[in-house]
Amino acid sequence: MLHELLNALEETLFMIFAAGLLTWIIGLPLGAILSVTAPEKFLANNVIHKSLNFLIHTTCSVPYIVLMIAVIPFTRLIIGSTEGSVAAVVPLTLAAVPTFAGLTEKAINHVQAGLIEAAKTVGASNFQIIYKILIPEALPNIIKSLTTTLVHLVGYSTIAGALGAGGLGGIIIAKGYQSFQTDYVLSTLVLLIVLVQIIQACGDYIANGSLHPQNNI
């Protein structure tokens, strides 16, 4: 049993962190673009902003289980299969990117507009303003957004597990739902709760402590 649980945990961790990493890589620039192209912002562009916003809001409004089934052809195209935890990373990422990009946009919106002016006066390019000024200044809030996104991913990954991706979600379906084995249910439950708590605690620690010394007064 322990072996099974550890295997499942490993699969779950893989799904969450692989999807989390991809979400960071795709979602961070998307969130930044969303923020700076908004009306009255320094790279205001209605077409880009509105289409990205539309895309994000539509994806966000699709329940995860529907999204996962709907993107099966796309998953097959990229991974070559739709079974297992590697394949699940595709729909997980697609589900997490919009949430994370939306939260990142809000985090960057909170950076004072004056900093952009100051950066311009010292000769910063638009790209430099985004990665040297806006993202570093918003980083604590972006990290908090990532934490929230990872917690969402834990939930999504169990649904994915029910649809053949394995992991703790797979265990709960196979051992819990199909042959009610209380010990499996309880251990899975405890593992998931501990996992979420660890993610939350790490996220808070990084966001509050090491990145922004001003929170350490």
């Binding site: 100051a118 000769g123 001003q214």
Partner: protein, 347 residues
Amino acid sequence: MISLNGIEKIVRKGNIILHALKGITLNIEQGEIFGIIGRAGAGKSALIRCINLLEPPSGGAVLVDSCDLMTLTTEGLRNARRNIGMIFQHFNLLASRSVFDNIALPLELNGTPKDQIESQVRPLLELTQLEDKANAYPHQLNNGQKQRVAIARALINQPKVLLCEEATASLDPKAKQSILKLLSLINQKLNLTIVLITHELEVIKSICNRVAVLHEGEIVEQTTVLDFYSHPTSLVGKEFIKTAARNDLPTALRNRMHPDYRKNSYPIARIAFRNSNSQQPFLAMIIQQYNLSVNIIQANTEIIHNHLIGIMVAEMVGEKEDIESALRFLEHKKLHVEVLGYASRTA
């Protein structure tokens, strides 16, 4: 050094079209401290943002160091801006960076190697007296220190011009004095041209050489600070001088003052005189000729750019007609008289 020609700025906010700057023409010389004073909403911040095209004007030409900024490419403008430092009312420091890294930011942006950054930041920390704060973060500093960091950051590219947007407006009086002193010092030491906008006469008086008065998007007066302080010509300019003088009066007197003439009240006049016209006993003359009693409330001398200027505030008691003649007489003697208000006599 800086020349603005017919600057127009039209701002659209929904259906409202605001003509923020109406044909501003200004020439600012190399090495001077030029002040632009105006009330809130006069267009000061739009004007100073035109000089580095943070907010590009809708029309006109901006020349800084003989370079026509409006014709530059994006890349060209970025390079030109390194020549024009700017500091802000709210400092605009990066909370995530230490003092040292805030000052080093402009160098990082233009790809200066690490070892050179260190050797360029150190002298500025020294100049702005922040040596012991190099590793502190902005939230650990007071506002005066924050503005010093902003000044150091603005100077790191060795600009020829420094623009100051209400740089002392959020500072307490002590920090204000020290920042003004620092600006004056860097103006002399680095031969830096400084343009500042402010709503405070004190800032103009203490460090500027020349001043322009901005009112509703137009320059209504442009003169030396000495002339401005002794005899402003525009209505808004006069109002600045009078407000400052009124604020210096004792509260008890201010409480019985009103702006217009009323029965049984007497004018409180601010009389400014320079070396050349301080030879005659003009007070004695008006007392004798017009049969007035003159009650001196304040009298002091100030030195503005090595020129002595005397300011006296006095209450003039007598018949209404006599007072008016006396005031005309003083004007005729080239003394500059502003009536600050009328004080009623307490019985």
